[in-house]
């Protein structure tokens, strides 16, 4: 895992000779630790600010010079959210939409990925090329036709429309990621299971699926993240509050009460919490998903 520090070998430079190789290596390492800590502090500052604002009264937020720590601690912002059905329904909607999108993408994606990984057929290259291109589609281009289509179909302002539309970007990602994982699993293992009397489908479920669980977790989490954070389609396709998802609700809160920062930041904290928690527990898989997502080869 760790690549040896370049420059840490047995040839001390004359100009650093006095502190020796050991000392020099230690010094460079210390600097690395320090710089990383500074970077973490800078990167975390906006997040820390979000957290502290979510637990202060609003009059404290815009004070000049700023109070770094809350002078009065209040959970008023969180209370407002949990006391109101109006806000809770938004969390529920987002959860339902994201979960359904993830499940659909994984099932349909795994099937397509299997076909692409195990069979040779005419047009395979074209299909792959199409899938890679879809990840780069300008989504705003699709808004106008979707808006028209869903009005015609009577699906405008429904959660169903969001679920369907999110597949445009989650499904190709799942297919590509699962395919690159399946390719690296030897097909002998399935064939052995088939020799032992499994049908092809049985063999897939008993060997390939269990063996690919890291890919399923990685792709599933990444898909969930994409769906949970999506904003553009939620703006264009949803009208009524009952069908809103988080990102859109937070945005309309900003327009609604410009000064109610603690409620908005409480909302933001709650909206980010599920993803951050999932990431803490499943960091390894998620980083895999992130890496594989971009370099599907």
């Amino acid at each position: 895992m760790t690549v040896a520090l370049p420059g840490a070998a047995a040839h001390p430079r004359p100009y650093l000779g006095r502190i020796g190789t050991r000392g020099r290596e230690r010094l460079i390492n210390l600097a690395a630790y320090l710089m990383l800590l500074v970077a973490i502090a800078i990167v975390f500052f906006p997040l820390a600010w979000m957290l502290t604002v979510s637990v202060r009264p609003n009059i404290e937020v815009m004070r000049m010079p700023p109070e770094w720590l809350p002078q009065v601690f209040t959970l008023e912002g969180y209370r407002k959210i949990f006391a109101s059905k109006r806000y809770l329904v938004v969390f529920l909607n987002t959860m339902v939409v994201s979960l359904v999108v993830t499940a659909l993408s994984l099932v349909l994606g795994a099937m397509a990925a299997y076909a692409l990984a195990r069979f040779k057929f005419a047009g395979q290259r074209a299909v792959l090329m199409f899938l890679i291109t879809t990840q780069m589609f300008p989504l705003v281009l699709l808004c106008i036709p979707y808006f028209r289509i869903f009005i015609t179909l009577g699906l405008y302002d429904t959660r169903t429309s969001l679920i369907v539309v999110y597949l445009t970007f989650t499904l190709p990602f799942c297919i590509l990621m699962l395919r690159s994982y399946f390719i690296n699993i030897p097909r002998d293992i399935e064939e052995a299971a088939m020799v032992d009397g499994c049908s092809r489908l049985g063999a897939i479920f008993r060997t390939l699926v269990p063996m690919s669980y890291p890919a399923f977790i990685g792709a599933g989490l990444y898909t969930f993240l994409l769906a949970w954070n999506e904003f553009l389609f939620a703006v264009v396709l949803i009208e009524s509050w009952e069908n809103r998802v988080l990102t859109m609700a937070i945005y309309s809160l900003m327009a609604e009460f410009v000064t109610d920062w603690n409620t908005m930041m409480a909302f933001s904290v709650l909206a980010s919490l599920p993803l951050v928690m999932a990431f803490i527990f499943l960091q390894k898989f998620m980083v895999q998903g992130m890496t594989a997502g971009a370099l599907t080869s």
């Binding site: 760790t2 690549v3 040896a4 520090l5 370049p6 420059g7 070998a9 040839h11 290596e25 630790y33 990383l36 973490i40 990167v43 975390f44 906006p46 600010w49 815009m62 010079p65 700023p66 994606g109 099937m111 076909a115 069979f119 057929f121 199409f130 890679i132 291109t133 879809t134 780069m136 589609f137 300008p138 989504l139 705003v140 281009l141 808004c143 106008i144 036709p145 979707y146 289509i149 369907v164 539309v165 499904l171 297919i175 954070n229 904003f231 990102t247 937070i250 930041m265 909206a271 980010s272 993803l275 951050v276 990431f279 803490i280 960091q283 980083v287 992130m290 890496t291 971009a294 080869s297």
Partner: protein, 297 residues
């Protein structure tokens, strides 16, 4: 002979039946709307009526200073976002790749990824709060003595700083993607290369220039292409933070298309803008797809 033929067809049939659900969905969700938006771009349409205008929308577009302004601002936003993502991501990846305690490395990497997990909407809201005239950034600058408490800057309300502020937020939000990808790339470089360079007495900088950078070149090209595409089509950061204003000073193509379509109800005109955006992205995507496909051989 007959048997192998039959087997081949059976395989193709199985592959097709696994593949068609996904392909059908993606064609319906991507190809049909694409055709529809191209068709609409030749019409004058406000959803109620559709009048054929030929290239009228495109001619109007070419003569619209606001469109060209949005176009160049998108290019500027993309260029600086991607450049800073690369510089910051590479710097942090190099630090994380040094001879650190493995537990510290995991925790540091995990913490530094968090901004990337947030919804762009949420990240945008946090920065809107921080960048208020009486927000914490001005407070910080004032307490450092850089600006006067009475002449605070309205970062998002001033045309000269709006686009820069949105870019800063986007840099903060998305650098972790580069960091993770480049760290994975760094860890794949064989250490022997550095050991050999060390024996030849190459300095750290020369090792970086002659080993690290060339070895990372393919990863860098890939993520720069991907991020350029993603940033060029970005909607959420701009829409949430400034809505393209003040006075169009932070307008990008995605928000311009949205406002022309859904606020001004000029759907034909917005479609023409979307087609231009698609053509630009398609060219970059084609380069990316060629690279990815050739890696696959």
């Amino acid at each position: 002979m007959l048997l192998t033929l039959k087997r081949k067809y059976r395989e193709e049939l199985l592959a097709a039946s696994f593949l068609w659900p996904s392909l059908l969905i993606l064609v319906a969700l991507l190809i049909y709307p694409l055709i529809d938006v191209v068709r609409l771009s030749f019409h004058d349409s406000n959803l109620q009526r559709e009048v054929w205008v030929g290239f009228g929308n495109y001619i109007a577009l070419a003569n619209d200073p606001l469109f060209w302004r949005a176009f160049w601002q998108t290019v500027v936003f993309t260029f600086f976002s991607v450049l800073l993502h690369l510089v910051i991501g590479l710097g942090l990846a190099l630090l994380l790749n040094m001879n650190l305690d493995p537990a510290f490395r995991t925790v540091a990497r995990g913490l530094l990824i968090v901004p990337w997990l947030l919804a762009p909407t949420v990240a945008g809201m946090i920065w809107v709060l921080m960048l208020q005239p009486f927000g914490v950034l001005n407070g910080l600058l004032a307490s450092l003595g850089i600006i006067d408490t009475n002449s605070t800057i309205s970062w998002l309300g001033d045309p000269s700083t709006a686009l820069g502020s949105v870019t800063a937020m986007n840099v903060w939000r998305a650098f972790p993607f580069f960091m993770v990808m480049l760290l994975a790339g760094l860890q794949a470089i064989p250490k022997q290369l550095y050991e050999a360079a060390e024996i030849d007495g190459a300095s750290l900088f020369r090792q970086f220039w002659h080993i690290t950078l060339p070895q990372l070149r393919s990863v860098i090209t890939t993520i720069v292409l991907l991020d350029s595409i993603w940033t060029f089509r970005a909607f959420d950061p701009v829409y949430v933070m400034t809505g393209g204003g003040p006075a169009h000073s932070s307008e990008v193509l995605a928000t311009a298309i949205y406002f022309d379509g859904f606020q001004k109800l000029k759907f034909g005109y917005a479609s023409a803008e979307a087609v231009v955006m698609f053509i630009v992205l398609f060219i970059v995507s084609a380069i990316y797809v060629r690279r990815t496909m050739s890696n696959q051989q």
